[in-house]
Amino acid sequence: MKIALPILNTNNGQSIGPSFGRTSHFMIYDTLTKQSNVIENTAMELQGGAGIRAAQIIIDLQVNVLICPQCGENAEVLLKKANVSIYRNNGTDIFENINLLIQNKLNSLDDIHPGFHHSR
């Protein structure tokens, strides 16, 4: 199983970031190999549709689960189409949350806030 998390670089190392589409990096953790990988979120700087593009990146990496605090409506639609499950993190510690997920102790992220839409 591959797990993705939006991450934030802080003074005390890395933690889970507050947003999905607008995060600077993702961590991809593979439960089979126990390897983690950090990739850049190239969608971050996009003017509109950042969540959609970020979801596309996650989907193309064949991720199965996304752990994040919040996720836009459009990104959620796309992730669901690709059978990516979304769970809400508990605290911001990355590996603690990965363990919680494996122990099935995280809640699925059902209150998805509507994405921020740009007017034409």
Binding site: G49, I59, N74, R120
Partner: protein
């Protein structure tokens, strides 16, 4: 001549003025560009002659032709397209209807699915042509509807009144594009004066001549009037606060058709507008 009627915000009496100025000008055209709430037709109750749906480009993907190259996904700068399981997903609220993806697709798998965004009704009443645009609920931009109405009247020699969307949105900018002259309808409040300033700045940036009608005038100070005087905006008329006018208007009746005194009042304002506007056009023939 094409006269745009604007206001800084809703509720100033913009439609009241636009409707009644039209009503005292037989042979003129009234164009309702206030597409989110087009209520001019409620006053005129025109006989509709033609209704035309307005559609915008909407990408329709032919999955049998699509080869999964993703050129469209990376082309769309709004990121309205994504690919899951080798199928293109379109996000309608994100799509800006530019049509670019259909051009970029190497195998012509994308065609125009024609999304309906609203309708334009064209009708008549008492020798006045009434054109009214309505944006479907939930649609964000009615600019294509406004542009289409502008096309319908762009070459007419008749007198045209354009009832613009209130405020200073891009729909307002589009509505005044073909106007020769702008009329600002104001109300005597501080908020009203502030919104007036915003829309006045928009008119200046569009390089259009303008004048004002002061509405709901009572004995107190009128910050909108002060603003007009400061900025040298000519005042075409003052409409006193008048419960009877308010009542006629709220019943959906055209005041100038109901009572001779209102007819005279609006006819006076109109003749001043025509004079001011012709003067402006002579002074600035390029407009």
């Amino acid at each position: 001549m094409k006269i745009a009627v604007l206001s800084g915000k809703g509720g100033t009496g913009k439609t009241l003025c636009a409707v009644n100025l039209t009503a005292v000008s037989p042979g003129s055209i009234y164009v309702d560009c206030d597409i989110e709430e087009p209520d001019g037709h409620l006053f005129f109750k025109p006989k509709t002659i033609q209704s035309e749906k307005v559609t915008v480009f909407f990408p329709k993907i032919n999955a049998l032709l699509c080869n999964g190259c993703r050129k469209c996904v990376y082309f769309c700068r709004f990121n309205a397209l994504a690919m899951v399981h080798n199928c293109i997903t379109v996000f309608p609220e994100v799509c800006h209807a530019c049509g670019g993806c259909a051009i970029i697709c190497p195998v012509l798998a994308i065609s125009d699915g024609k999304l309906e965004i609203g309708v334009i009704d064209d009708g008549t009443v008492s020798a006045i042509r009434i054109i009214s645009g309505t944006l479907n609920p939930g649609r964000e931009s009615g600019v294509p509807i406004i542009n289409k109405m502008a096309k319908m009247i762009e070459n007419t020699q008749d007198l045209v009144f354009i009832d613009c969307p209130p405020g200073s949105s891009c729909a307002t900018v589009e509505s005044i594009r073909i106007a020769d002259f702008c009329i600002l309808v104001t109300e005597p409040t501080r908020f009203g004066a502030h919104d007036l300033e915003m829309v006045h700045e928009l008119i200046i940036s569009e390089n259009k001549p303008c004048a004002a009608i002061l509405n709901k005038i009572d004995s107190s100070d009128d910050p909108s009037e002060t603003y007009c005087i400061e900025k040298g905006i000519p005042i075409m008329g003052k409409i006193p606060y008048d419960p009877e006018l308010g009542r006629i208007n709220s019943e959906g009746l055209v005041a100038a058709w109901e009572k001779e005194s209102y007819k005279i009042q609006f006819a006076k304002i109109l003749s001043r507008i025509i004079e001011e506007a012709s003067h402006e056009t002579v002074a600035n023939p390029k407009r």
